[in-house]
Amino acid sequence: MYDADVIVIGSGGGGAVAAKELGEKGLKVLVLEAGPFYGNKKWQNPNSERGGEWSSSYNDLDVGIYKKIYNSYENNMNDVVSGAFRFGPADRRRAPWHRVMRQKGDIWQVSGVGGTTQHYWSQSPRAFPQAIDHVWPISYRELVPYYEKAEATLPVQFSPTTPKEELFYYGAKKAGWSLIPTLDVVTPGYRPNPNAILRTNEHLMDPNYSMEQLTHMEGCTLRGHCVNGCTSGPSMDKIAKRSTLVSYIPLALKTGNVSIRPNSFTIKILTEQDPKEGLRATGVQFRDTWTGEIGELTAKTVVMAAGCIESPRLWLNSGLPFNPWVGRGLTNHYFDWVGGVFDEKDLMSILGTPSVYPYVGHTSGARVDIPGIGIFQVSCLSPGLMSFLTYGFSEAGYDALNPPEPGEPWDIRGRVVGPELKELMHNYSRTMTMLLLTDDEVRFSNRVEVDPLLKDENGPIPIVYYTPSPKTLQRRDQLARYACETLQQAGAKKIIRSDLPTGFLLHLESTMRMGFVTDTNCEAFQVKRLYIADNSVHFDGIGGPNPTLTTQALATRTADKLANKYFDHSIETDK
């Protein structure tokens, strides 16, 4: 009578994990994904033709199609209006799906199988233990076995050292930070990033292997395109950077129990009143993004993993029961970005090379963790992305019209335009940049809601609003000072603080908070059989670390809890 045991809405950082874990338990799983499926024989030209409807087989995967689309050109891949990585329909002639933002900023979310992990930089740290224990409704210890499972599955490994990491370590050590060789960070210090990237190809340094050969072998080739589309690897499931498109999705298809339908935007959760359980989820309505046809599917349980904006939107547009916290409590690590320009002679003496080589290695390969404050991580991008993050995107306005006070650790704060921009960009290859992630305090007023007037083809559209608390602002300023100190110690001649806008949304979390919208098993309080498995179910911003691994650990745990409660499976970690 049901179409499946479980319907999973969304195939990104969380949904793909839930699908694989549930499929491995023998449950029949249907995954609905709003965006395209890249790298699948059923969709030879996913951005211009409708192609098939469902994929249910590992043998459908096709690395040739994947590599053709993932061409690593930054505008083609990451243009938020028309890129292959955007939040919008597969058909690139069409406009992206709009979200209303009445503040400076931009939302970096990607539709498509793999979701935003398609362009994430794959940092996979655990939460800070002190940010979970006695804060979250579950303990850090409860999460550890699930962290271990997700880390082994992806797999997660510490980043290799390339010139930019070497320069970062040199500055961090001189600034007084010490190495913390751990995954459980309880004291401040520096370490390579735990990244979901395969080990560097063992033959990379052997000139007997050509780059062309190496790119078709297993292992990272340090090509620097984590953000613009990683293509190093012999097959879909052996691509070096482990977006869920190449990690959990192939594993899900291998179970033989999972079917994925891309180009299918879920517009409504279907429910019924059960005499015993009360209101419960029974299925979904979705819209085919190519034909506009509305389909319905039913299942015994539903897992919502549409992301921090679409999950609350879907709840609200489905007319599910009122809960004051639905869409509320948005955190975002209120980011900042700093850069240092180095002289060639200093680089020669530190690195023995004339350049930082910002385009070499993992997009982000090393970090300083400061529990209670946040993280700064060396992060270098191709010139288009780097130019606007460093010089074009700011809450502070134009540096020239409002220069920093003397004595500040930065020489520039805010946007740089005109001839000065050209000069700075001329120094691109001698510039090291860092992303700063703030331990962000939850505020009820930070929110996702739906517009009372504006609609797209999928219903009333989301409005996103975020403004940091005074405590978050204070931590972020402290973090910027720490990061600039490391740049200074490394010998940077000119230091730039972008002062990124409040509305630059990358690590959206906690809009459907555990303990408020769901119970500790991530099942909605008010709708039985409806689970949440994306960043939105986090209780908060986990202290600042990049959120994906925690979502993946929680999705693994949620699969356990769901299968235990409704399908009589024993809990894995109890075995």
Binding site: N71, S72, Y73, N76, D79, V81, S82, R92, R94, A95, H98, R102, K104, D106, E151, A152, P155, V156, Q157, F158, P160, T161, T162, P163, E166, P181, T182, R191, P192, P207, M211, L214, T221, L222, N228, S232, Y357, Y359, V360, G361, S382, P383, G384, L385, S387, F388, G392, F393, G397, A400, L401, R415, G418, P419, K422, M425, H426, S429, K455, D456
Partner: protein, 219 residues
């Protein structure tokens, strides 16, 4: 002719002049930098980045209006925002250089000196204007103005320093049919070698996770 190309061809001269003035102020031609190589001089106007901005703004928003999904083009109204801002800027005596009167009639914003164009952007994003005099959808919507003014900066930089200009004659086609026609000038200016298959740059590992028999250790 593809719809996008058609749009560029029919964009009104006032909008084109305004966006040319915008991108010129943000990424100008810099003859002085030619000492580092002739390619260092090129600015955003020579690389048609104003067309990029117009295309992006005209393809970024689709809303369901009445019976169907409708594209809401934003380039003309955004040019109107800049021109209205320029008018208020000059009228309130803030201009530091006299506007070029020959251009005033076609685009007040383009008539300003590059430095004054940036001051207009600052004035708009700080909402030091009469919001009621701005064209819709910006009229009386301060949040939308701050969003779009910030976008005008970063959009111009991304257009210029990414590979977009090198799509050459296909730059306004649907993204799936654009083809690179030369090595991007912005990348050359930045000293970026372009898309690479890999780099032989491994400097070792500071830490390694070793997983054996279900246990993991860090060495």
């Amino acid at each position: 002719m593809h719809q996008a190309k058609l749009y560029a061809a029919t964009a009104d001269p006032r909008t084109v002049a305004t966006f040319k003035a915008l991108v010129e102020a943000i990424v100008p031609n810099t003859p002085a930098l030619a000492v580092f190589g002739a390619e260092q001089a090129a600015g955003a106007v020579e690389l048609y980045v104003y067309e990029y901005m117009i295309w992006e703004l005209d393809h970024s928003l689709a809303l369901f209006l009445g019976t169907h999904l409708t594209i809401v083009p934003l380039s003309a109204s955004t040019a109107g925002l800049l021109n209205s801002g320029a008018f208020q800027f000059v009228a309130s005596g803030q201009a530091q250089h006299a506007p070029n009167h020959a251009l005033w009639g076609s685009s007040p914003y383009a008539a300003l000196s590059p430095a004054d164009r940036i001051r207009v952007l600052a004035m708009l994003e700080e909402l030091r204007v009469d919001l009621g005099l701005l064209p819709p959808p910006y009229k009386d919507d301060g949040g939308l103005i701050t969003f779009i003014v910030d976008y005008l900066n970063r959009g111009t930089m991304f257009g210029f320093y990414s590979e977009w200009p090198a799509y050459g004659s296909t730059r306004l086609a649907t993204p799936t049919v654009r083809r690179l026609e030369y090595f991007p000038i912005g990348w050359r200016q930045a000293g970026y070698p372009g898309v690479s298959l890999g780099y032989r740059a491994l400097g070792g590992y500071l830490l390694t996770i070793v997983r054996e028999g279900g246990e993991s250790t860090i060495v």
